[in-house]
Point group: C2
Chain length 136, copies 2
DNA sequence: CAATCAATGTTTAGGGCTAAACTATTCTCA
DNA sequence: TGAGAATAGTTTAGCCCTAAACATTGATTG
């Protein structure tokens, strides 16, 4: 007999994979993937953030952030601005425009993935995951 | 204002990353990562499964499965057994032994990650994710 | 039976991610 | 002030994963 925790974990992974796949597929329209979208989202929400802070915020390594930024910068979506020994990050005009275009569609699609749950259930799920997140 | 769905999605991703990191760290003791563990788990639970079936079950591509199996086979943990045009997969003695050793610890650690939630809450989470999974 | 089609597996190129080694800059304080 | 510690970023090797091209084998049907 499997514990509720193990079952919950297996399902959490599975749901994450499934939804991630749908979102990734949709983001191809803008030639973005989920990691790039999340990076733009974080920078857009906190412009002036450093690479180090971005890495902590995304829960990835700074090496990863560095490479990710190389690509996004090459595409002209954001820019590094040196500040002391750190780099501060900003969206370019193009990055801001693209981001503003993608977000509404993206959020609608996310909502659609959760539409099998009632509003109350979505709230419950959100709260349970929030509690779990804070404990980790 | 963010919808409950978007918040739930962000937290789901985040919780998945955090727990995944803890489990990955622990699996290093056996020189395994999460993907390899999952592969062993699936094969162990359904020996004789084909590569195609395994790929569908893991929600990854068959190309990925092929490479993953190359590594696990090289390590002597499982074996491909040709059957018609398919390969049927089996754990080796070593694979079965390793797997039996890892699983209890792993499940305990998973349970620990969810310990901030009461038994009822874990059940609720499990059910909500199950409902969501079936709808996707 | 032979040609075609479908199913299974393999390979390859490329991006995501990590750990660890490395570089460069800034801070500290004796 | 100058040496060393701490901090921020970059690079590299290697595994994970995908998409797409490829190869092989089995099934279908004219």
């Amino acid at each position: 007999m499997r514990s509720p925790a193990v079952l919950a974990w297996m399902r959490l992974l599975r749901v994450g994979q499934k939804i991630g796949r749908v979102l990734t597929e949709d983001l191809k329209r803008w030639d973005l993937n989920l990691a790039q979208f999340d990076t733009l989202a974080h920078v857009g929400a906190s412009e002036g953030i450093t690479q180090q802070e971005l890495a902590e915020s995304l829960l990835v390594t700074k090496g990863n952030v560095c490479q990710m930024l190389d690509r996004l910068e090459r595409r002209g979506l954001l820019s590094r601005r040196p500040d002391g020994r750190a780099n501060r990050l900003f969206l370019t005009e193009g990055g801001r425009r693209l981001f503003g275009e993608v977000v509404p569609t993206h959020e609608t699609l996310v909502a659609a993935q959760f539409s099998a749950l009632s509003t109350k259930e979505q709230g419950d799920l959100m709260r349970l995951l929030g509690k779990l997140d804070r404990s980790l």
